[in-house]
């Protein structure tokens, strides 16, 4: 019987989607290994405890809540110390978390503090006898590595959106804990958080992504991409390296080998030729649509559905059609 500790990430007082995904994964793992307990650890400013009940619904037996007003901004050092301290005092087969910006900071710190092996960007977790076996895409998603972790415990950071959060209600009993280190002692201090823009959905969380490339001809034409994204309602806007290098779109919008790697339900590639560099970032999307004037463009080889033609004409028509389809549901 294996207990699993989950670092359930929040921003401010709200749980992030990866937190629910991590609890779901932990629940599945615990159930598959004799039905152990899932303990979710939440650290945040006053009021973050209200999120606890959600974690119970997704499979947490216990929710450890560390509330501290100093955590208005993410404090990686005190949070990593707290997760590590809890892991040390408990007997956890695994410590799971999302491989997000926060996860990059917390996961390896916890592993180093406890001298545990760590695997990141994991898309699948299985118990295999005494070992844990995970799948991890490497070489910019061009190769899938199956990794074996030996030892009594391990830190496992899960690729956001690789696991679908699924309810599996457990008690979610809340326990108040204190931070294992004072945020005021932290050396890395957050000075400012710059929001990306109202309602901007993160590329890693958006179910739909509409992405534009050089085929749009000019930066102003990205308006058409934004209009289509708005029509979908729950879409984020991405871009290729070519247009981010040219400054048409911010670097953080870049999808590709050295940019963001995404797996939305639907990826619409507009005016994108489909260079290997870009495909590495989106080829695991569930459904891919490509719109390009060149029918020989490599993107059509990976697209489920392709339309050949002038993106400047097709985009407005598609935007109107999507709006209409959404209105009737």
């Amino acid at each position: 019987m294996a207990n699993v500790l989950v670092f359930a990430e929040t921003r401010g007082t709200a749980l992030r989607k990866t937190a629910l995904e991590a609890v779901t994964a932990a629940r599945a793992f615990a159930d598959a290994t004799g039905g152990g307990e899932v303990h979710a650890l939440v650290a945040g400013p006053s009021g973050v405890g209200a999120a606890a009940s959600q974690l119970g619904q997704y499979g947490a037996d216990v929710v450890l809540v560390a509330e501290n007003p100093a955590l208005e901004k993410f404090d990686r050092e005190s949070i990593a110390a707290t997760v590590a301290a809890r892991a040390q005092s408990g007997n956890y087969r695994a410590i799971m978390l999302g491989f997000s910006a926060q996860g990059r900071d917390v996961g390896p710190r916890v592993a180093a503090k406890l001298d545990l092996p760590i695997v990141t960007d994991v898309t699948d977790i299985q118990a295999s006898g005494d070992a844990i076996v995970v799948k991890h895409p490497g070489y910019a998603n061009k190769v899938i590595a199956t990794l074996q972790i030996s030892g009594p415990s391990a830190v496992i950071a899960i690729r956001p959106s690789a696991v679908t959060a699924a309810p599996s209600a457990k008690a979610g009993k809340v326990e108040t804990i204190s931070l294992a280190a004072e945020p005021s002692a932290s050396k890395v201090v957050v000075k400012e958080v710059i929001e990306g823009g109202k309602g901007k959905i993160d590329l890693g969380e958006a179910p739909v992504i509409v992405s534009g490339g050089r085929g749009l001809k000019a930066p102003e034409n990205f308006k058409l991409v934004e209009d289509l994204a708005a029509a979908f309602g729950n879409a984020a806007v991405g871009a290729t390296r070519a247009v981010t290098d040219d400054g048409w779109r911010p670097h953080s919008d870049q999808i590709g080998q050295t940019g963001r790697q995404v797996s939305p339900q639907l990826y619409v590639a507009v005016g994108i030729s489909g260079a290997i560099q870009h495909l590495a970032g989106m080829r695991s999307s569930k459904t891919i649509v490509a719109i390009n004037k060149d029918k020989e463009a490599p993107i059509f080889k990976v697209a489920d559905y392709g339309i050949v033609g002038d993106v400047m004409e097709i985009l407005p028509a598609l935007t109107a059609a999507v709006k209409e389809a959404k209105a009737h549901h």
Partner: protein
Amino acid sequence: MKIAVCIKRTPDSESRFKIAASQTAIDEAGLKFDIDDFASYAVEVALQLNEKQGPGETVVYAVGPDPVQETLRKAMSMGADRAVQLKTDATPYDGMAVAKALAAELKSGGYDLVLFGKHAFDTSGGIVGTATAELLGIPCVTAATKLEIANGRGTARRELEGAAETVEFPLPAAVTIDEGIARPRYPSLKGIMAAKKKPLETKPAQLGAARVTVKSMDLPPERPAGRIIGEGVAAVPELVRLLQTEAKVL
């Protein structure tokens, strides 16, 4: 400043890969290797910091078997002053093991700044930088897209999901470098010749047991073939219909 940069030798990221007969690694035949992309940004950041705030020393480290020496020399031809190879028979997949080897070596180095790439192209772990920093007991900022150092303190910007944060920290510190912060210079021909005379030290890597091993490597499943459903505006209604009924994403 005394700056250490930890780099890795990885294959050209534009390559198509095949799985080796062992099924636990990629087939290296015909592949070109170089400094990993993110690590090369880190080297450039170090060189620029020392050029701006000079004089200083930039030392590059790599864990791996002897072919890694060529990669270290490339970093020296860009301008790094010396290099240290922490020698292993094979480059481990286990990021924590690599971090331990680096930390053991860097402990006595007296570095103001230790830089890493955000992650390496092949293992894509994003583990080594942060774990090494923790083992050294120094603060760490991961995935910095901007970095400034002044008066023994650093300011960095890092991307979050849909936002960005600015952080401040004291030196000595570790930073892992994201894309967009600097374009790595290509070695000048004089730099290539000078690198031959710069010191490259080889020591055994103190790795410890590897607890993460590769059970198998596979190519991702092929996507089933798609189709071009039509041309121009006329194809739009059919696309919407397929997205609704077949793909069920609308």
